[in-house]
Structures are given as C-alpha cells and as structure tokens.
Symmetry: C2
Subunit: 257 residues, 2 copies
C-alpha cells in the first residue's frame, strides 16, 4: 500500500506567521501523499471580542452559538484555510481547502444538548474516503479545517484532533497511514517543566501507569485516546510532537498499542 501522512497542526503554529511558514515548507517537502488538518487558535475569541459577541467556554470547550459559528466559519474556513492553501501553492504543493461540507468530505451530527449544550458542535458520523482518494490520485493535498456539516444545511464546529484521527481511520483501508499530532511541545513530557523529558514511546500498559501517576492528565487525555482509537482501527503509526517532527529529524512521542 502507498503511504499517507496525515498532519494536524493547532493554534500555536497557526498564530505565529514565521512558525507557520516554516511548517508549511517542511510539510510541502513530504514526498508521500498527505493531508493537513488545522485547528483555529485564539483568533476566534479575539474576533468575537472585537465584534462584541460573548464567548462562553466550559471545560476548555467553546459553546458554539450561531454568532460564534459564523466567526469560526469566517476564520477557520476563510482566512486561515485560504492563507494556508495559498502558501502551500507557493511552495509547489497543490493544496485544496475543505470544510466537511465541501464534497461532503466529513459529515457529523449535532452533539446531544445534555449534560452540556455546546450548541453547533458536531460529532463525526462519516468520512468520505472516496473524495480524499480522488483528490490524492490527482496529487492534490486536502487541507481540512475544523468544521463539519450535518448534510441538512448546518455547519458544525468540530474538534480538529478528532477530524484528523477519523480521516486517518477511514483512509487506512486504502493507505499505510501515519497520523501526526503537532503541538507546542516536543512530545508527551515526563516532567512538564522539562521540555526535553519527551517520552519516546507510550503503549497501552505504560499509558495506564502514566495516567495513574498523573504524568498525563487534562487535555492530553482525549488526544491520546484519539491516538489509541486510530491505532486500534487500522492506522499504522501515530506520533505526537512539535511541527518539526514531520521532517523525521526531531524527537517525539510514538504511540503504540
């Protein structure tokens, strides 16, 4: 099977123009078929403030009312996605931006309003592998923003980590898939205060220990949950590290079953 690299970047890369340019150059140099998934960052909150729209965050998650969804669609699918696509085009990578509505690439359903009503937030129900295959066969690189749709006309705010893992799982029937979560650290750290204490490998049994002794907690838990789900469902390799990880020359954390 051919190889496919799926790379997810978050706010820390997107908010720093130099870091983003450097990452996109590295990404465009990947020789394998590739898909980029990007989150949003703090700009959505800043834009809401500028426009006088209230932002409510519960447990670190944004409550997405209609006004906030509009801001997200403007920033994620508009400004950020098109800035990334145009920059990739400049590096010779034939990128094409997608929300989940585009080509029905990622379908979701609105999350149940209980126990917390997150508003227009989607849980993924289907990834259109056929569309991704069509684009990749034409040497087009899909660039996915963190928006899905319900096929009934409603756009939905959706976690970018989950989008990346669901695409990885769907594509693992067609490719040998490597899933790469890039964030602000060099990997999962043994000691938060020590940037270089990267844990090289986490597997199911060491994960239990790291959870129990509180080395891994909070926001890292759902991320690693996504990693294990991806591996269980056919994804070949899952890595967590800095954006430089994709060059293959940087330490990182490898997740294994």
């Amino acid at each position: 099977m051919d190889k496919l690299q799926i790379v997810k970047i978050g706010g820390n890369v997107i908010e720093n123009r130099m870091a983003l340019e450097e990452f996109l150059t590295d990404f465009s140099h990947l020789k394998e078929a590739k898909i980029l998934v990007h989150g949003g960052g703090k700009e959505a909150t800043q834009m809401a403030e500028k426009l006088g729209i209230p932002v409510q965050i519960i447990d670190g998650r944004r409550i997405t009312d209609a006004a906030n969804l509009e801001i997200i669609s403007m920033l994620y699918a508009g400004k950020l996605n098109k800035t990334i696509v145009a920059q990739l085009q400049a590096t010779g990578c034939n990128a094409l931006g997608l929300s989940g509505a585009d080509g029905n690439s990622i379908r979701a359903e609105t999350r149940a309003p209980k126990p917390i009503n997150f508003g227009f937030v989607g849980d993924i129900t289907a990834v259109n592998a056929s569309l991704f295959n069509t684009l990749l066969a034409q040497e087009i690189t899909p660039v996915c923003c963190a928006i899905t749709h319900d096929k009934n006309g409603q756009l939905l705010n959706t976690n970018a980590d989950t989008i990346a893992s669901e695409i990885a799982i769907a594509m693992s029937a067609h490719f040998e898939v490597s899933l790469n979560y890039c964030f602000e650290k060099k990997g999962v750290l043994q000691r938060l205060e020590d940037e270089n204490s990267v844990i090289p490998i986490i597997n199911s049994s060491s994960y239990e220990i790291l959870k129990n002794d509180n080395t891994i907690n909070n926001g890292m838990l759902p991320k690693i949950h996504n990693c294990f789900e991806a591996l269980k469902k056919g994804v070949n390799q899952v890595r967590i590290g800095s954006p430089k990880m994709i060059t293959g020359k940087e330490i990182h954390t490898q997740i294994q079953l």
Copy 2:
C-alpha cells in the same frame, strides 16, 4: 459534447436568505453539469465598519488593502461560500467550494498600480480546466468565490463576473457551455423604470445602438463586454437575467455575437 451550466449570482441574492435558498434549490435541480460563481455583496463593507477598518471605493470598485482582503477572505471564502455549499449539500447537490488558490483553480496577477492602485486585486491569467473536469467527472459541483491567487502565496480580490466568464471560456474546450449572469433585474432593460421592458436579444450591432443612445451604460458595460468576450472565445450561450432565469421559465436577455 456534454452541457455545462455556469451560473453567477451577486449580492442581491446572497444578502436575502429566502432568495438565496430559493435560488439554490433551483440551481440544484439543474440536470446538467454545473458550476456556481458568487460575488460578495455589501456585508464586506458592513464588517469593515464594525471592525473599524476604512473602506475606500473608487469608480464603484473597492480598494483592497491587506485589512480589507482579510475581511473578503473571511466572508467570501468562509461564511458565504460554506453557507452556500452546506445548503447545496442539503438539497442533494454535491457542492465543493473553491477560492482560486484551492487546487490552483484560478491564477491571477496583481493589477498594475497605475492609473489607480486597487491594492490586492487580481486579473486572471489561467483557469485550471483540468481540476474542474476532475470534479465534474465525479459529479461534484464547484462553487467559486471571488478570490484568486498569484501562486506566490498572495490571495487576490477578483471580479466575480470575470471569474465566471473566464471559467466559461476555459471549459468551452470540453463542454457546450451556457453562461448565466443573474442579477436584480429580469434582464437588460429598455427603460430602467420599467421592470418588464427586458430586451430579449442583444447582438453586436444592437449593442452599439444601445450604447450610443445610453440605454446601456455604467456597470452594465463591463458585464456585457464579458458576455461578448465569452461568446467570441467559444462559449455557446450567454444570458443575463434574474436568478429565476435558470429554471428556463423566466424572460431574460440573451447575448449573441
């Protein structure tokens, strides 16, 4: 050759939610291969005002500085394009939104800064017919917003009428193309004050007369110029009328050589 309908809609349809839904339903019912091109409308100006960004318009054209380009990319490629795509998906039309950067679909060069410096405004240099053919072959309907790129990382604000005619010209090598300009009137009017005085056919010789007696003037001149250019370069049919025109049951103006 197979038929291809290219439909351009402008601000008047986009700004009215009911009108937009009605149009998109009609559009999704078109049985031929189809491409939608949409302009922006007044929302970009309103958003600039809300954000305290100055808007400068010369000869009815927006001066696109970096701050206004950002607003345009948010609204046109983000909010409007994704709203349209999600609504088309709900009607069963497999739409996929594109800026000119996406898949390098439309390449342009920044307009020369003299006699007027319009800023980040693009004049089209190449349409990627191969990409449109690939999408149409998969029964995907491209939905293009009025943004192009220069392949050097710069997004450019570009006239939607011209995007529609340039796509129509490029696709006429592969399809029997019908180009439809939808706007707020039922067609080109003999008397501006009489909504029903639609001129059924305008050809090169009647156009000269209508220009000379000032029946056609101002903003309609570049629109009809685009129509004639399209016909001269291989487009099969060009029509100007209301959005209802695409149902085939509404009077309109047909442009002929």
